[in-house]
């Protein structure tokens, strides 16, 4: 067992269900993310979130981000826990949206000023520009940035005004291996910024995401005793993986371990049969 313990709740979903025009999309989802504490290490949490295309991952992300109220159930964030509101959870969507009419610096400032006084906001925006290697591009408009720069800017913008939670939707999609390494580095940097920082990675890249994560969620339909699919997808207990407990978290070179390879194969089977 890994040398770690759990403290305060950062995110809690209770019996979340979602219906659109009578069609059940998500059903009875209860999930928790708690502050995982490792002696001598100040590090946040990384959750890998998987599921087949079109199963409702984006809907659940929007619910977690407070953008869409669930049909039933609750989402609570922070310590002490409170119902989620838009702005509590950062959400970097697939195409890394930024305000195209603002320069990069302005994009960060407009986010930072949501939480801080102008002088403090300016200092924080400058800090993030430097930290994410974006300082030389501060006067550029988003359309002038490369895909990687745009992604870093979108993450920085969300970090500047969200509390501690940030959802990244498909952060590795369409990237070459060097860019994937860069994004991994950014995610690790985000988790190292604060003990409570938590990154939820929605991805189809199982190996890359699992190697970063300490928790995995797999959204899939459940079957009844007769083997029939129940309406709506859920993340049942079987599909909530605590990698820290499994001894598969926070290890460099974890991808070469046989247990890790077995887990990836298991996840692939679970997704195929879902």
């Amino acid at each position: 067992m890994a040398d770690h313990s759990y403290k305060d709740s950062i995110l809690a979903l209770r019996d979340v269900s979602m219906q659109f025009k009578g069609e059940v999309v998500l059903r009875d989802i209860s999930l928790d993310v708690r502050d995982v504490v490792r002696p001598g290490v100040s590090q946040g949490q990384v959750v890998g979130f998987y599921g087949r295309s079109g199963i409702g991952k984006s809907v659940l992300c929007r619910i977690i981000a407070g953008l869409l109220p669930p049909s039933t159930g609750t989402v609570q964030v922070g310590t002490p826990a409170r119902p989620v509101c838009p702005g509590d959870v950062g959400f970097v969507q697939q195409r890394y949206p930024l305000f195209d009419h603002r320069t990069l610096l302005d994009n960060l400032l407009v986010a930072a000023e949501r939480k801080h006084a102008p002088a403090e906001a300016k200092a924080r925006a400058e800090d993030y520009l430097a930290r994410f290697d974006l300082a030389p591009h501060r006067r550029k408009y988003p359309a002038m940035l490369s895909g990687g720069q745009r992604q870093r800017a979108a993450i920085a913008q969300q970090l500047l005004c969200s509390e501690h939670l940030i959802i990244l939707d498909e952060p590795f999609s369409g990237l070459d291996i060097a860019m994937i390494d860069e994004v991994k580095k950014i995610i690790m940097e985000v988790t190292l910024l604060d003990e409570l920082n938590t990154v939820v990675i929605v991805s189809h890249d199982l190996a890359t995401t699992t190697a970063l994560a300490d928790t995995l969620w797999l959204l899939a339909p459940e079957r009844d005793a007769a083997g029939q699919c129940l309406p709506g997808a859920t993340v049942n207990k079987k599909h909530q993986y605590n990698l820290a407990e499994m001894g598969l978290a926070w290890q460099p070179g974890i991808q070469a371990k046989p247990e890790f390879v077995q887990l990836i194969e298991h996840l692939k089977d679970e997704i195929r049969h879902s």
Binding site: G90, Q93, P97, F99, H101, R114, Q157, Q158
Partner: protein, 259 residues
């Protein structure tokens, strides 16, 4: 080099392109000079008529009168159309925008009659008809721009903790201001179409429309062509000015356009 002119999406050298434009204009002028039909006035006749219109009929003054009226109407119509379009954020005002958009099917002649009953003098009638006509077209274009707002854009603003009004202001008002200016540029032409008609109906204030009407009435075809060319040149200059303003105030606007 020259073959680039006939390859889809090619980017010919600037000098080649300018030479091509010059050649096309020259060809047009030559066709005009040697046009066999007598129905269409010759280039010389048009130039002569232009000179006469400027020196003895006050073409420049009439153009200025029409231009200032058109710009005044456009300014008022733009403010009104922006207000109506932005208010579509509130469900209560959506029927107003819908109705305003559909009113572009109303005929101008019927409209001037009602306007004449409602306002006191000829200038007011002219201005109110132009404002009304331009507003309904602008509302149509502006609401179309607003409707291009995506869920992703609004969600992005909301995830930054912006309220619904602040999100709307950031994404729709600030974010689409450049597209609104483009809508205004495109619809400015409709004012020129209307102003020539309205000036004919209300002749007391003159204007280039009245001048055109008189040339038509007395079958001065050279004068008609000269005035039309003046209007065309003014419109082209307007377009250029709007493009310039867009590049000046919204430098990000063209960054995603295919070159």
């Amino acid at each position: 080099m020259l073959k680039d002119l006939f390859i889809p999406n090619a980017r010919p050298h600037r000098s080649v392109f300018l030479t091509m434009v010059g050649g096309q204009v020259l060809l047009l002028l030559l066709l005009w000079l040697f046009y066999p039909l007598q129905l269409f006035p010759t280039l010389g006749e048009v130039l002569g008529s232009f000179k006469e219109l400027v020196t003895s009929q006050g073409l420049i003054q009439e153009l200025w009168a029409s231009l200032t009226t058109a710009l005044g109407a456009l300014a008022i119509a733009t403010v009104l159309a922006l207000a109506i379009s932005y208010l579509t954020a509130l469900p209560f005002f959506r029927p107003i925008a819908y109705a305003a958009s559909k009113m572009r099917y109303l005929t101008l002649t019927g409209l001037t009659f009602f306007m004449a009953l409602m306002v006191s003098n000829g200038h007011q009638v002219k201005l109110s008809v132009l404002v009304f006509g331009a507003t309904v077209y602008l509302v149509t274009g502006m609401t179309s721009v607003i409707l291009t707002t995506t869920q992703e854009e609004m969600d992005h603003a909301r995830t930054l903790g912006m309220s619904e009004w602040r999100s709307f202001y950031e994404v729709v008002v600030l974010g689409k201001l450049d597209e609104m200016l483009e809508v205004v540029r495109q619809n400015f032409a409709i004012i020129w179409t209307m102003i020539t008609l309205v000036e004919t109906l209300y002749q007391s204030e003159g204007g280039i429309g009245l001048l055109l009407y008189k040339q038509n009435r007395y079958l001065h075809l050279a004068g008609v062509v000269a005035i039309q060319l003046v209007i065309l040149a003014t419109g082209a200059l307007q377009d250029y000015t709007f493009e310039f303003l867009r590049r000046l105030f919204f430098p990000y606007s063209d960054l995603t356009t295919a070159k």
